[in-house]
Each structure stands twice: as structure tokens, then as C-alpha cells.
């Protein structure tokens, strides 16, 4: 069941000048899955009219904790990143389909994230680890300083890195990383990040014959499948990213 309600911002940590980690407390609905998102209402920002779709970084219903990793992309997200702890934020959640988790214990998933695209991989990694499946993360950013939440990712699984300037791990984009060359040991690849990177990862996965899911971030208005603004071309025609995604199997896309 989707809900729309207020959450209390309990902590707001500026990870870098471009990225902040926001922790909220509140009553969470049942069944939030990795890869789903929240539609966040931005109050008191005169230039922001619509909600902002933000990937759920982590959710724990038992403690009522919800985390969002936010990139400053414009007035709306700037306003969100500048909010003081103690503020109340209205959110609609959980929205979208989420990643499909593998059943077999012997799975070797590779979780590829670029920039703020690492956000949903935290909850996904934790759920995989909870099922006894050790994830490998391939995390990419412009520089070593912008590799987000590295220590927490290292606590869940193995971590490989790629940076545009070579300041951490391999130099280059995520899809150029050696982990994606050849067939590799991977049983499935999950990916979230900038479109060119995801297309590169999807191409590598196809070449290696490995299943691959990507999380898209098309611009949205409603988040509920009503306005038909966020559509992606698929093999079934135009579909809403907010309801039939944001996670797609690459075989369903026309990339």
C-alpha cells in the first residue's frame, strides 16, 4: 500500500558539496523493496512546483528509518539538501517496482552505481547479504572524494571503484571497468547511474550473456502512472517509468 505522509528529518549529512544523506523517522508502510522511490514534496521553494522522485537508499520499518541520498540537481534538491534536522517533509511512497532479487544462494551479483546512482544499491546490497548472497559493488564517480558511502558498502560486500580522474580504482567510467570485460563470474548485474553509463553496462552484460537490470530516472510529474509523462520506449511501446519501472530488464528496453 502506498502512503502519503509527513516524515521527520532526523539527520542531514553533507557528504560532499554536491551530495547529502538525509535520514528520516516516521511510520513506514510494509513491503518497501530495494529500487523503489519516494515522491518528495518540496515546500517553501517558490520555483519548485512538482514533487521530486528520489530513490530510497535504505528503509527499515522496525525502527521507522528512511534514508535518501540526494544530489543537488536544481532548486528543488538544493532546498531539500539545505533543510535543518527537525523539519517535516511530506513524501509519497513506496513507488515503482524495485529490483528482482535472485533466488539461488550461489548467485554472484554485481551492483554497478555511478554518482548518485549508488543510492538504491545500499538497500539492494543489504537485502542480498541478508539472503546469504555476497554482493560485489562497482562504484563510480568523478573523483575519489565523490565515491559515496564507501565504508558502508565495504561492510556489506566487495567493493571495486572507478573514477573519471583515476584518483580511486580504475581510471574511466564504470562500464569501462575490467570487472565488466569478458564474461566474468557474474550471475546478474544491477545498475543505476547516468544513462550513457547504464547503456555501456547493458551492452557489456548483453555481450557476456549476463542478466541485467537498470534503474531509470526519467523526469516525472505524478509518480503514480496517471500523467504518462515519464515514459520510456520499450519492446511493449511507451510505458511509465514510475509504475512499470524504474527498474527494467535490459531486454525490455530498445537500447
Amino acid at each position: 500500500m502506498k502512503v502519503v505522509r509527513d516524515f521527520l528529518l532526523s539527520a542531514n549529512v553533507e557528504l560532499t558539496p554536491r551530495f547529502s544523506l538525509l535520514t528520516f523517522q516516521g511510520e513506514l508502510p510494509e513491503g518497501i523493496r530495494p529500487g523503489q522511490f519516494a515522491q518528495v514534496r518540496i515546500d517553501d521553494s517558490p520555483t519548485t512546483f512538482l514533487r521530486r522522485p528520489i530513490s530510497i537508499n535504505y528503509a527499515d520499518r522496525d525502527t521507522g528509518t528512511l534514508r535518501l541520498l540526494v544530489r543537488r540537481a536544481g532548486d528543488g534538491t538544493n532546498h531539500l539538501c539545505d533543510m535543518e534536522p527537525g523539519s517535516s517533509v511530506n513524501m509519497m511512497l513506496p513507488l515503482g517496482n524495485g529490483f528482482r532479487l535472485p533466488d539461488q544462494e550461489g548467485s554472484r551479483p554485481l551492483l554497478v552505481g555511478g554518482g548518485v546512482g549508488v543510492a538504491p544499491l545500499m538497500m539492494l546490497g543489504k537485502e542480498l547479504a541478508g539472503k546469504g548472497i555476497r554482493p560485489t559493488f562497482l562504484l563510480a564517480a568523478r573523483t575519489a572524494d565523490e565515491l559515496l558511502l564507501l565504508d558502508e558498502f565495504r561492510g556489506i560486500g566487495d567493493v571495486l571503484t572507478a573514477t573519471d580522474d583515476g584518483s580511486s580504482g580504475e581510471k574511466g567510467f564504470a562500464h569501462q571497468h575490467s570487472a565488466l570485460s569478458g564474461s566474468g563470474p557474474w550471475s546478474i548485474i544491477y545498475c543505476c547511474g547516468p544513462a550513457p553509463m547504464m547503456k555501456g553496462v547493458a551492452a557489456a552484460a548483453k555481450k557476456a550473456g549476463v542478466a541485467c537490470e537498470v534503474s531509470l530516472e526519467n523526469m516525472m510529474a505524478c509518480g503514480l502512472g496517471a500523467c504518462l509523462c515519464c515514459v520510456e520506449k520499450t519492446v511493449r511501446g511507451n510505458v511509465c517509468v514510475c509504475t512499470e519501472g524504474p527498474v527494467f530488464n535490459i531486454n525490455d528496453l530498445t537500447w
Binding site: 500500500m1 502506498k2 502512503v3 512546483f49 512538482l50 514533487r51 502512472g225 500523467c227
Partner: protein, 306 residues
Amino acid sequence: MLTNNKPSLAVQIGGLPLRNPVMTASGTFGYGEEFTDFMSLDTLGAYIVKGTTLEPREGNDYPRMAETPSGMLNAVGLQNKGVEYFISHIYDRIKDFDSNLIVNVSGSSPDDYGEVAGRLARLSNVNAIEVNISCPNVKQGGMAFGTTWRGAESVTKAVRKAWPRTLIVKLSPNVTDITEIARAAEGAGADAVSLINTLMGMAVDVERRRPCLSTVTGGLSGPAVRPVAVRMVWQTAKAVKIPVIGLGGICNGADAIEFMLAGAKAVEVGTANFINPAVCAEIVEWMSEWCVRHGVSDINEIVGEI
């Protein structure tokens, strides 16, 4: 002695009684079922579902949406799976919500409109249709019929022949004189007119030096258009005898009352559904409280007070 002093919000549009004047605008409320987690549809006067055409339509390319000051542009382009899909796959899922189901109809020729209306006429739970002669986002038809009185008349006539129940014609604001179009729809047999559809607009991404929408231009909605809409409702209500349904940027109860004072018998709520999925229920509640505060026992008393 206890008295029931709850004001009456019931209104009548053509042959259709509504429990209150609040409806959802087509294209902003899906098929209704998308919103049931947030709101019981029995709080609505009616729910108007997505524009339906004779053949399936894929709509325009992405990007179809751009946020603008106090509003948004869209260029969806009537994406829908066609009237046969609606009849066979969607109708059964949505026909039993305890409210009035209204289907919005679009086409690229008067015959198209008539054909869709005729097929919908066989569905007994479709209480009314709203004929969209005002979509700015399709190349053929749509707004073309809504910008001349002849176009409005020809479509309304074609639908009137095929549709026996309440017929609403949705008007475009992208005209010099909306009252001329409204009178043509009235003369051709419309039971009501609804206005306004979106205003043609455009936005440019100055960093990319490209239009924000794939179609370059699109339809502007949200509070940004409300004063234009209120003005057109006021003008139109004085020009026709049939009920006028007001829409354009309604976000709260006060906005809805504003339209009714200006001459609207009922209202539609559109873009606001995207920000608050329960906004229609809140609007109904607020209107009722407003009536109590103003000593209004029947909402019909205030229609066209200005």
C-alpha cells in the same frame, strides 16, 4: 432538537446528478484506480478518465513534461490503448467505484469521435462523456476542432447522434473568443462545456540550447493558468445557458469556490492531483465548511454570483 445543517453540495450537469461539484480532470487521474490508496473515490462528484481514441496511440516522444513557474508543460499526446482496449480490459476494473464515471473522448475526425462515443454508449456505467476538442499536443484533430466554431459544431453534432447521455464538450483557451466556440457546442447539442484545457506554451533549456519538450510546444497547466481560466469561465457562463464546468489550476477549496462564483456549476481538479493525491477529498471538505461559514445551504446559490 438536532438539525441537519450540512450544506447541500449536489449539482446537476445535463441529466447527471453529482453529489458534489468536484471532478478529476482527464489525463491527471489515470483511470481512478491509481489513487485509491490515498482517497476513496466516493468522495468525488465524478471521475473523468484518460482521453480515449478509436485507435491505440503511442503519444509523443520523451521528454513530455517540463516544470514551469507555478505549473507545468506537458506534451503527452493522448497516449492510450484505444477504445476497444478500454472496453475489454479497463472498464470492468473501474466501473463500480461509487461515483460517476466520465470518459474523455478524442479523435482526428468527427466520425472518429462519433464512433468512439457510440461504442462507449453500450457501457451502462459510463454516465457521461467529455469530448476533447482542445488537446494542443496532437498533429491532427484535437485542438483543430476547438479553435473554430464550425469544428466545434461538427464534432459535437457527430457525438450527439451517437451518445444518448450527458455530453460535455471540453474547450480550448487558445482562441480569440471562447464564447463563440461555447455557443457552437451548445447549439449542436452539448449538455455542458468544460474549460479550460491547457494553454499552449513553450520552455527552453538554456544550457542545452534545446526546447524542454520533444514537441517544442506543449500545454501549460497548474495555478499559473488559473486567472485566465476564471476569466474565461466568467465570460462563457454569461454567453451560454448550459452549465459551465470550470478548471485550470485548482489546488484547494478556495480556488474551486472562486470558479463557482465566476459562473461554474462544477469544477475539475487536474495538475494538483500530482502533488497531493488526496486533494479532491480535501477540496470537497473545505467547500462544505466554506458554505457553513457563509450561511450557504445549497452550493447552487453561489454559481455565477459575480
